[in-house]
C-alpha cells in the first residue's frame, strides 16, 4: 500500500515545486492548492456531485449494455466456427474505426439526447469484451472439453460448467478493458454530444473559460472514479477465480 502511494505523492510534490517557484506559469498549470479550492467549492455547491452522478449513470449504463452484448457475441463466435466466419471479418473491420468517427452519424440518427451518449459508450465497451470473450472461449484447453465429453456433458452443460469457467480470466480482462474504454469515451461523448451536466461538460466548460483548475478537477475525478471501479472489479475477480490464484503447494 505504502509503495503504491509513493508515486502519486512524489508527483504532487513535484507539481507543487514547479508551480510555487514560478517555473511554470499558473495559467498553464495551476497551483495544487487552487485546484483543491475549486474542487471544494464545486463540491460544496453540490454541482460536482451532480456531474459525477450523471456521468456515473452514463458510464454504468453504457458499460453494462456493452459487456452484456460483447459477452454474448464473443461466446457466439467463440463456440461456432460458422458464426465466426460470418461475423468475425465484419467485427474486426468495424472495431478499427475510432468511436469519435461514428459520433456525427449517431447524432444524426438519435439527436442530442441521452441515448446516443450511452450508445457510444456501449459500443466502445462492446469491442474489448467481445474480443476477450472470444479469445477465452477459443483457448479453452481441448483436454477439458474431451473430459466433459467422457462424462456425457451436453452442449449447454459443457458451456456453463466448463467453457465459461475456463475462459473466465480472459473474460475478466475483457471487463476491465471495457470499463477503461467506457471512461475514455464518456468524456468524448459528453464533449461531442452536447450536454449541460457531466464530468466531460465540467472539463469543456473549464477549457472555454480558461479555468485550468476546473479542467484538472474533472481529470482527477475521472481518474479517481475509474480507479475505484477497476479496484472493485479486481476484488470481484479474486472472488470468482478462487483457487487459481493460490500457487503454493502443501
Amino acid at each position: 500500500m505504502l509503495v503504491s502511494i509513493t508515486l502519486p505523492v512524489l508527483l504532487i510534490l513535484f507539481w507543487q515545486l514547479i508551480t510555487s517557484t514560478g517555473y511554470v506559469s499558473p495559467h498553464i498549470l495551476p497551483l495544487p492548492k487552487n485546484v483543491i479550492k475549486i474542487f471544494l467549492s464545486l463540491f460544496s455547491e453540490e454541482r460536482l456531485m451532480l456531474h459525477i452522478v450523471i456521468s456515473l449513470r452514463r458510464v454504468m449504463s453504457g458499460f453494462l449494455i456493452g459487456i452484456a452484448a460483447g459477452f454474448s457475441f464473443g461466446l457466439l463466435i467463440g463456440l461456432s466456427r460458422t458464426g465466426e466466419k460470418i461475423f468475425a471479418p465484419f467485427f474486426h473491420a468495424l472495431r478499427q474505426v475510432p468511436m469519435i468517427g461514428w459520433i456525427p452519424l449517431i447524432v444524426m440518427w438519435f439527436g442530442m439526447s441521452e441515448l446516443p451518449r450511452i450508445l457510444v459508450i456501449a459500443i466502445s465497451a462492446f469491442y474489448p469484451m467481445a474480443l476477450n470473450t472470444f479469445t477465452g472461449v477459443r483457448n479453452v484447453p481441448s483436454e477439458y472439453i474431451e473430459l466433459a465429453s467422457v462424462y456425457g456433458y451436453k452442449r449447454l452443460k459443457l458451456i456453463r460448467r466448463v467453457i465459461i469457467p475456463a475462459a473466465l480470466p480472459s473474460i475478466i480482462t475483457g471487463i476491465t478493458l471495457s470499463l477503461g474504454m467506457s471512461w475514455v469515451i464518456l468524456v468524448a461523448a459528453e464533449l461531442l454530444i452536447e450536454t449541460p451536466v457531466g464530468i466531460g461538460r465540467l472539463i469543456s466548460n473549464g477549457r472555454e473559460t480558461c479555468n485550468m483548475e476546473q479542467v484538472l478537477v474533472g481529470i482527477i475525478t475521472v481518474a479517481l472514479l475509474g480507479f475505484i471501479m477497476t479496484m472493485m472489479i479486481e476484488k470481484l475477480a479474486k472472488v470468482v477465480e478462487r483457487g487459481r490464484s493460490i500457487h503454493q503447494e502443501l
Binding site: E143, L147, Y151, G152, A166, E241, G243
Partner: protein
Amino acid sequence: MSIGKGILEIKNLSKSFIVDNNPLQVLNDINITIPPGNFVSIIGSSGCGKTTLLRIVLGLETNYEGDALIDGEQIEGPGINRGIVFQDHRLLPWLTVGENVAFGLDGKSRKETEVIVDEHLKLVGLNGFKSAYPCQLSGGMAQRAAIARALANKPEILLLDEPLGSLDAMTRMHMQKELERIWLFEKITMILVTHDVEEAIYLGDKVVIMSSRPGVIKKIIDIPFTRPRDRSSYEFMQIKSEILEEFHLGVEHPFIYSI
C-alpha cells in the same frame, strides 16, 4: 455390482486416420478379450496406437472397422460404465478437489454426491483434501484425485492412459502399489497403457505387447505371480527381460572364452 459385468471384447478391430489425404493405418486387426475384473497392461513404443485403442474403448473414436464390445454391446459413445485416468491429471483448476471428484456425477442429490465424494477420497487416501484446490496438490496427489473422479461413477472398466507417466520414480512405485490396492478393493476391470515394462508386469494379469505402424498385438504374456509382487524376484526379472527382448532392448551376453 454383479459379477460378470464389464467384459471387453475386441474383434478384428482396425482403425485408420486420413493424413494429408492418405489413409494412415493406426490399428490393424486387434483381437483381445478381457474378462471382468482383470488387470491388463498394454505396452508398446510410441505410435503403436495404444492411445487410439483406449479412445475407441472410451467411445471417443467411433469410426472404426471390426467390433469393440462391452458386455456384448457395440461401443457407440462415452458412457458411465467406463472411466478414464489421463496422463495429465486433468483436474479443473477452478473446482475444489471434492467438486472435481463429483464432476461426472449426474442426477444425484447433494447428499448422495457428498457421500460418494467422501467415500472415494478416502479410497484414494485424500481425505481432508476435499476443499483444497488442484494447484495445492503434488503430482501424485492430483493423480489420486483423478482416480477418485474416474471411480466415482462406479465404472465397470477403468482405463488408465499412462497415469503415472509424469511422476517421479519413487512416487510412481508408491502409486503402483496404491493402484493395485484400489483394484483389489473395487474388483473392476482395469486396462493400463504404459511405457514402463516393470509397471506393466507389476500390475498386470496379462501384458499385451504392441508394435507400431500399423499397431498390432505382437504378443500377450500371462503374468502368473501372486500379489503383491516382488520386483526383484528371479521370475519377475525373467519376464522383464523377455519383454525387453521384444523391443530389441535385451542385454547381449558376450561370449566368454576360457581355456
